[in-house]
């Protein structure tokens, strides 16, 4: 009897550990902005294989459910859809397909939003706090199915032309734009 109670308690305790997915990092500590960051657009480099420069923040923001859902909200607030049309593309390129002119890594996307790109993409560095740029970058990756299904936003707050991000196909294998 005692054994059974103990086993039950242990089971409940194990279940409880499943309640915690991740910390919500609302206040960066210490508060720091964008540092100097060297992000190559390509991993090709002369002289053979070399470690690629990455940003320490990339790992914190990529595949983080809270940051991706914040990124989704910011995507709407900052009117990214004005050019990218909910990820489908319009005046700006589509974000749901597998074409990445300036690279598909989160560092590449962050650099694109921060510094802008020729032919239309404005530089948001300074106007958007650095952490929010990372959140947007993490979210943009989920539009092409490039992030973990367990973390990508699973709900649309309003009418959307495509399924929620955790149900979007991976653009590398499916949904190639013509």
């Amino acid at each position: 009897m005692k054994m059974r109670t103990l086993a039950l308690l242990a089971g409940v305790a194990i279940l409880l550990t499943g309640c915690q997915r991740e910390e919500r990092d609302t206040r960066p500590d210490p508060v720091k902005g964008a540092g100097d960051q060297a992000v190559p657009v390509t991993s090709l480099a002369p002289g053979g294989e070399r470690p690629v420069d990455t940003d320490a923040k990339a790992a914190r923001f990529a595949d983080n459910a809270f940051h991706m859902s914040e990124g989704k909200r910011l995507f709407d607030w900052f009117n990214c859809s004005g050019c990218h049309s909910r990820g489908g593309g319009g005046m700006g390129p589509a974000l749901m397909d597998d074409k990445w002119i300036y690279g598909s890594s989160i560092e590449n996307i962050h650099a694109t939003i921060r510094d802008g790109r020729p032919n239309g993409m404005p530089a948001f560095g300074g106007r958007v706090p650095d952490d929010q740029i990372w959140e947007l970058a993490a979210y943009v990756r989920s539009l092409a199915g490039k992030s973990s299904k367990a973390a990508a936003p699973g709900r649309n707050d309003d009418l959307m032309p495509h399924p929620s991000e955790n149900r979007l196909p991976d653009a590398t294998t499916l949904g190639r734009s013509p």
Partner: protein, 336 residues
């Protein structure tokens, strides 16, 4: 024992003092609030009387114990009859009381629905996590006023409130003026507000809406028609050109820093509506939806680190130097 009783009574009296003031349903200042207060008091009075009666009967039953019968299964036909009759009467009385209360509540509802069918002013109130956007409708687009977290109304006049939500379900509740009404995404609810006396009434989101639900307050300020009209005209104006060098510097920073991505200051290029409108923010009484009172110190504290004051709020902590913060605060202070 006596001391305990005295302490109990004093603390009860202490609680009762909380029943008056800027946010109390028991201190009504409008027809709807009065109707609801009447309903609360009549329900309370009736239920108190019934409770006292039940307790009295219980006390009598305890004091006048019946003798123990020799055989527990023995039944006395006469007393059985009396008991059945008593239970039946109590059930009928309970039913009647419930019907009475239902009718009372129905009439109160009818009165509430009838208030202010002729309201002239329509104000759209939209709930956000965790603040209120306020928009005064007008057939002339240039005369539409937008503000946040503070609703000015002319006293003695009914005002129609159109309630909407942009994210989750909120509830608009100004206890002294009206009952609660939910703000539901995709649904439009309307409510008529009327304050009979001038004054400031505090309201609060009354439906749990996330981390900072408790810090989602709203002020309703009822003022004479003349004052209200003057306030309205002032709100229509563009933000004044800052006069001091520091404030001008602050404006340039405001327009080049994250502020511009979410806030609107009429008369500048800042035209976003993701956060509260700031054109006349310094003329408001509170900051961050009733969280802080409006002062230079609080403004600086809020802009420097909103996440410490209201953790989880949508306003991010920004990377500003002391000089930049000083200039931005000086600018925001000029937005009267």
């Amino acid at each position: 024992m006596k001391v305990l009783a005295r302490v109990g009574l004093t603390s009860c009296a202490g609680f009762l003092t909380g029943c008056s003031g800027v946010q109390s349903a028991l201190d009504p200042h409008g027809p709807a609030g009065e109707e609801l207060a009447r309903l609360i008091w009549s329900f309370t009075a009736l239920c108190t009387v019934i409770w006292l009666m039940v307790m009295g009967v219980l006390a009598v039953a305890l004091v006048r114990r019946r003798r123990q019968a020799a055989d527990p299964l023995e039944t006395d036909v006469q007393s059985e009859h009396a008991a059945s009759r008593a239970v039946l009467m109590a059930v009928v009385a309970t039913g009647l009381v419930l019907v009475c209360l239902t009718v009372l509540s129905f009439f109160a509802n009818r009165t509430l629905a009838g208030i202010g069918a002729d309201a002239e002013l329509t104000i759209e109130v939209t709930g956000y996590q965790w603040w209120w956007a306020v928009r005064y409708e007008n057939s002339e687009p240039s005369r539409i006023v937008t503000t946040a977290n503070e609703i000015h109304i002319p006293s003695g006049e009914p005002v129609r409130l159109v309630l909407k939500s942009q994210d989750v379900i909120h509830s608009f509740w100004v206890p002294a003026l009206h009952g609660k009404l939910d703000l539901v995404p995709g649904v439009v609810n309307t409510l008529t507000l009327q304050a009979d006396r001038n004054g400031t009434y505090r309201g609060q989101c009354a439906e749990y809406c996330g981390a900072q639900h408790a810090h989602m307050g709203v002020l309703v300020i009822a003022q004479p028609r003349v004052e209200f009209d003057a306030w309205y005209e002032a709100q229509l104006q563009n933000a004044a050109e800052p006069s001091s060098e520091l404030a001008r510097q602050g404006r340039d920073l405001f327009l080049n820093r994250p502020c511009v991505m979410c806030h609107k200051v009429q008369g500048t290029v800042a035209a976003s509506n993701a956060g509260p409108e700031l054109t006349h923010v310094a003329s408001r009484k509170t900051l961050a939806a009733g969280t802080l009172s409006m002062s230079r110190g609080n403004l600086a504290a809020w802009i420097a680190d909103p996440q410490s004051i209201k953790p989880g709020t949508r306003m991010p902590t920004m990377n500003l130097t002391g000089d930049e913060l000083n200039a931005i605060v000086a600018y925001v202070e000029t937005l009267k």
